[in-house]
């Protein structure tokens, strides 16, 4: 009994440390400079007129990312004109998943005609800084007095398998809230996703 309580405490403290990594809602997000599929690097500073960004950690191979592809495109088309462009970032190490290599990203973007930049987090520093753990994983940033503040973290909606059956459109609702000067509710959701493939050191 004593032993199991001790173990439980150990596990709990471990979980809490894990949860403390990366950004939380309300944190200030750092800009990045990553290679886009057209060979140019992109930063959020390149968008002086943006009100914020829909940063989506995603990739080629993950069925959840694929299932959300149409929805990512729809978000970009709807919200870029309203000041919230989508920026997709592939955080995976392609030696583990060859499908997620830079050349396969270029191919995929061309096939699907992505209306948003698709960047490679080549040294895997950006996803770690943000605290992304899976694909797809959304960070909605809002520009407030010159800073990029994290206002929503989580899933795009509440049905990964079938877009038509989703009853909660978290990202859309969060941006609508920001456009009306309110904070998103919910500001944090979880979703099943593919683990991010980290380069073996």
């Amino acid at each position: 009994m004593k032993k199991s309580i001790f173990l439980l405490l150990f596990v709990l403290s471990f979980s809490i440390t894990l949860m403390a990594q990366g950004y939380k809602v309300g944190d200030k997000a750092q800009d990045f400079e990553l290679m886009n599929i057209d060979g140019n690097t992109i930063s959020m500073a390149d968008y002086p007129d943006a009100k914020g960004f829909i940063v989506i950690f995603t990739c080629n191979h993950c069925p959840y990312s694929i299932a959300y592809e149409g929805r990512k495109i729809a978000l970009a088309k709807k919200f870029a004109p309203l000041g919230y462009p989508v920026i997709a970032i592939n955080p995976n190490d392609s030696t583990i998943v060859p499908q997620d290599s830079y050349s396969n990203m270029v191919k995929r973007a061309a096939e699907k005609d992505f209306p948003y930049p698709y960047l490679l987090d080549a040294d895997q520093s950006v996803f770690q800084q943000y605290g992304a753990t899976r694909t797809p994983h959304v960070y909605l940033l809002n520009k407030e007095s010159g800073n990029l503040i994290v206002r929503y973290i989580g899933a795009i909606d509440n049905n990964y398998e079938n877009a038509k059956k989703a009853s909660e459109h978290y990202v859309e609702a969060a941006i609508e809230a920001l456009l009306h000067g309110q904070n998103p509710d919910p500001e944090f959701t979880k979703a099943i996703g593919c683990s991010i493939k980290i380069k073996k050191s």
């Binding site: 199991s4 596990v11 979980s15 753990t133 049905n159 979880k190 099943i192 593919c194 683990s195 991010i196």
Partner: protein, 170 residues
């Protein structure tokens, strides 16, 4: 000569029936599809049994990599108070086309069920609040002992956890 022929005949019949048996085995892979409400009680049994609940999917590379280790563990503790459940998060639409053929091909012995619960935000915390939702992930529990881990396991890591649990009393 006659005896030899009859012997050969017997062997070939045996072989034939064996291959037919193997085939029906593959066809007999059954996977229950559960929603979260029906699945949840499996996370809270209190019956002196060790439960190893692994969340995976047939297309998930690190999940497939660790499956043989889970199968080995399952075989090792088969005669103990030990139960392994491989909870697939494959899409329900891929049940017959992908998941069942995968289980048959790999010859998985541990129980597999498909958790069809696409509104994941509603239930991930009910498995464990520390889970971000990435797979693989595993929950090992026995009575009030509970250990959740997001990420992969090797056989020896698993075995190190299970061994002392076997004799752990309330």
């Amino acid at each position: 000569m006659k005896r030899l022929i009859s012997k050969l005949l017997k062997i070939s019949i045996l072989l034939l029936s064996f291959s037919a048996f193997a085939e029906t085995q593959a066809q007999q892979v059954e996977v229950r599809v559960l929603d979260f409400e029906t699945f949840e009680p499996l996370l809270h049994k209190n019956n002196d049994t060790i439960y190893v609940i692994n969340f995976w999917a047939s297309w998930c590379v690190p999940c497939i990599k660790e499956l043989p280790d889970f199968e080995k563990l399952n075989a090792k503790y088969a005669d103990k108070n030990f139960k392994m459940i491989l909870v697939s998060l494959d899409f329900k639409s891929a049940l017959d086309s992908k998941l069942i053929p995968f289980i048959a091909e790999k010859g998985l012995k541990a129980a597999v069920l498909l958790l069809h619960a696409p509104d994941a935000n509603a239930w991930i915390n009910r498995v464990d609040p520390s889970w971000s939702g990435a797979i693989p992930a595993s929950l090992i529990y026995k009575n009030e002992f509970r250990l959740f881990h997001e990420g992969g396991y090797t056989f020896s890591e698993l075995d190190k956890i299970i061994k002392p649990l076997i004799n752990l009393k309330q």
